[in-house]
Symmetry: C2
Subunit: 501 residues, 2 copies
């Protein structure tokens, strides 16, 4: 049980409660904006969020708070939780201090305009509409990297912003193993053809009300705690937490290819479970939430891919799919499994399968590094994107909407974010290995629908610590090594090569 005993830490936590409260309010405002807010409420909401964000920043950077955290840095004999509090706050203060308010303001303004331009550009498949905005975003992002500082490459500063401690050399080393490994797996998968088969379910329309019942029943199977969590609908699925006892996920209903809606739910359930299993003693403290984007994505991918796209899960949910949705009645469990776990190189990252997904990330991260390093220009992006897509995936975009314009991230100014998705895939595979080693075969538990045991394992090994430990340290301590790409390759090999008849 974490205990905060040191008086300076206690004083910090008492003061932090107000900062936390503003964060709580902003989370709710963000959730509401995507779910229930009337359309025209957006202007007032944006103003309110901007004011609260400024207030949040002021409180974090207030002299009194900063000097308390400074004082805490020199304390000896702190326990791990107390050290975590100091680490997280020191990092937040350091980053906030390094980026001048004017630069933050420019970034917020530019990305909000860039988002509008990107949306138009994508809908018209015309990169030229987005190009000048992307140029501004890249320029401002480079300034951010310079202000943050770095040892080897400006991209290091950006990576660290999204994943504490992550460096370009880590990402390079990960992909130097992943790229050939995945290409090899993919070749075998394609040549065997078992997982590349097209399912009639991909084209099948579904009834939204029935699909809502499916999603709710699947959440019941997984053990979604309704008194602490809820499922809603939003244009893009996401998870948000207002606290350890109020975590909310969303999905969407497109009316076609039901696995998209279903696996959004299972994916977000993974994120939610992380937040729901943080030790309640850490509630309302700086370490009361997941350790990093990469570790978080590890949880969502574990549920979505390792559990959700398994034959045992297909077998478990088929009866309720048959009953509620009807579309699977004439199919076998194996058909449903192959629909869930199909592998086919494709153009759109968000629709990519487990095997090819990380090649999409490789493409993006390489371009980002070169952009930020000044080796390529914004103008070069569409062509480089298309050429590299063909090299990596063997398919070529017909237009920029299918290519360089497909992701929202750059419009949002999130350069350096993509690699955390691959970290997530790696962490998911590492957790599967750890489960096998410590508890048993995951598939057996999934087959029985015994998710309580799986959640206990996740809680004890990862979740309960919140962000007590920095991500790399957490992984070393709890899973035996930092982001290990070989775990992902073994998992893919076992599932998609050895697993194919």
């Amino acid at each position: 049980m974490p205990v905060f005993e040191n008086n300076v830490i206690k004083e910090i936590l008492a003061k932090y409660r107000r900062i936390w409260a503003i964060g709580h309010a902003m989370s709710l405002m963000g959730w509401d904006e995507e779910t229930y807010m009337p359309e025209k409420g957006v202007t007032e909401r944006s103003t309110a969020i901007a004011e609260l964000r400024a207030l949040y920043q002021e409180l974090v950077l207030s002299d009194q708070f900063v000097s308390l955290v400074e004082k805490a840095k020199s304390l000896e004999g702190l326990n791990d939780y107390e050290k975590g509090v100091v680490r997280v706050l020191d990092r937040e203060i350091t980053i906030a201090k390094k980026i001048p308010p004017q630069l933050n303001y420019e970034l917020a303004k530019t990305t909000s305009e860039a988002f509008v331009a990107w949306r138009e550009a994508r809908s018209k498949a015309e990169f030229s509409i987005f190009r000048p905005w992307l140029q501004k975003v890249v320029d401002l992002t480079k300034q951010v990297a310079e202000k943050l500082g770095y040892e080897e490459h400006p991209y290091d500063a950006l990576l660290d912003l999204y994943e504490e401690g992550l460096r370009l050399r880590d990402v390079r080393s990960i992909f130097s193993i992943l790229e050939p490994g995945i290409r090899s797996v993919l070749e075998k998968v394609i040549s065997r053809g078992y997982f590349t088969v097209r399912s009639p379910l991909e084209e099948a329309k579904y009834d939204e009300q029935a699909m809502r019942r499916v999603n709710e029943r699947v959440l019941d199977l997984l053990g979604f705690p309704r008194d602490r969590a809820r499922l809603d609908v939003s244009p893009h699925p996401f998870t948000t937490n207002m606290g350890v006892n109020d975590v909310r996920i969303t999905t969407r209903y497109e009316g076609l290819d039901f696995k998209r809606s279903l696996f959004s739910v299972v994916h977000e359930f993974g994120h939610a479970t992380y937040e729901l299993q943080v030790d309640p003693e850490l509630a309302m403290t700086p370490i009361g939430t997941g350790a990093s984007l990469g570790v978080h994505e590890g949880q969502s991918r574990f549920w979505e891919n390792v559990i959700g796209r398994s034959p045992q899960f297909a077998s478990l949910v088929k009866p309720l799919l048959d009953q509620e949705l009807g579309l699977t009645r004439s199919l076998s469990v194996e058909d449903v499994y192959r629909y869930f776990a199909s592998v086919r190189p494709s153009l759109i990252r968000t629709e990519a399968d487990e095997v090819t997904y990380n090649l999409h990330i490789l493409l993006r991260y390489e371009l980002e590094v070169q952009l930020v390093g000044g080796e390529i220009k914004v103008d070069d992006l569409p062509e480089l994107w298309n050429r590299r897509t063909e090299e990596l995936l063997g398919v070529k975009p017909n237009n920029d909407a299918e290519g360089v314009l497909q992701d929202i991230h750059w419009a949002h100014g999130s350069i350096g974010y993509f690699p955390t998705y691959t970290l997530g895939n790696i962490v998911a595979a590492m957790m599967r290995d750890a489960f096998r080693k410590r508890v048993g075969d995951l598939g057996d538990y999934v087959a029985k629908g015994d998710f309580g045991q799986i959640k206990s394992f996740l809680r004890d090994f990862i979740h309960r610590y919140g962000s007590t430990y920095a991500p790399k340290e957490l992984l070393r301590r709890q899973l035996g090594s930092e982001y290990d790409p070989n775990a992902l390759l073994s998992y893919l090999e076992e599932k998609y090569v050895k697993g194919a008849p």
Copy 2:
């Protein structure tokens, strides 16, 4: 068009935006707590609200803000909107300064515990469970009155808290006219028997999904702007606004006696329309919301009673009730009207009809005045309540749950609040008179479903000003007199005596 030209006012409004943002967040948090928040989120939510409330108070009372408002008080040549800003902020600061933080803290703590005791007391119909808590609430409320100060009676200080400028002598004068007037109307209504008849619909169960469709269709008829407003479900119906473009109402579905759910919707629609029709130029300023509880209740009662419980409205909505709900198919429009507008003395205020409603308020306000004035004791309440109910309404509670324990207000510490309900009923009748004088017969517009014309009138005469003017001044300027009880009596006489065959 309101314009803020004075530089001091502009500076105040720029600083106020942050205070507004916190208020916006708290409104959303309150709404969410009653509608979608997972049950166990309540602890963290309460902490967040307490922190934001304290922060709000600190910003309002910050030296810089207070001295700006002080400076503005001596400015000459301000326009009405600018004067309104100064009036509202000066009032808020003055009240906040007078009540010591310790007293506020005691009140918050006591009322939160009193609420729990009241809920138990009511469910067991045992006043003794609530008695000690009510005693504490009364004691603390008296302290509040002393801190706020008053000229004639401590109740004045409490009335003013809920309705700016309202005094005990106003309320006494109002009820000295209303009490005999209402008794006289009630006698005639009972002797004629037309409105006292019991409808089979009172006992009829309804299908919730069908009732939801009824409510949505009625809101469509009334012209509820879906891009700026929404309807949800909560245990107790309410309206909340996050801004002029985000106003939300709720209703409930009890499954029986559908007019309760329907008229909650129409009532809250009235509150919402007030907020939605405040001049958008006043958004995010201290005067960008309704003028007072009494004027607000005037809007809700105008829609609920004057419009909703009219024969024309019954005729307008009967086809959709027939279609969606079915229960009214074998009944005439007249039957439905008499169901909507039935009059029968009863024990529970929230279920009271238009004629007897204000007698319930009279009972409460008399007891409050005597309690606060020290003429009666908390122990005396149950007996006094029952005796006076019999005198005023001719019915007697069987137990305290039907009597002194029925309302939440005292547990919440809201002593001095009840009279604003009667002010609302009066204002609704005054607005009906003003509409008749300036536009035409309200019933004709309702019959045609021409609510646009009615809303324009309300916007131009009352809504657009927000709280630019104090309530009494607003009524004098726009409706020709302050709260006029005779307007209510004429309306009741015309509708329930002359209107009965």
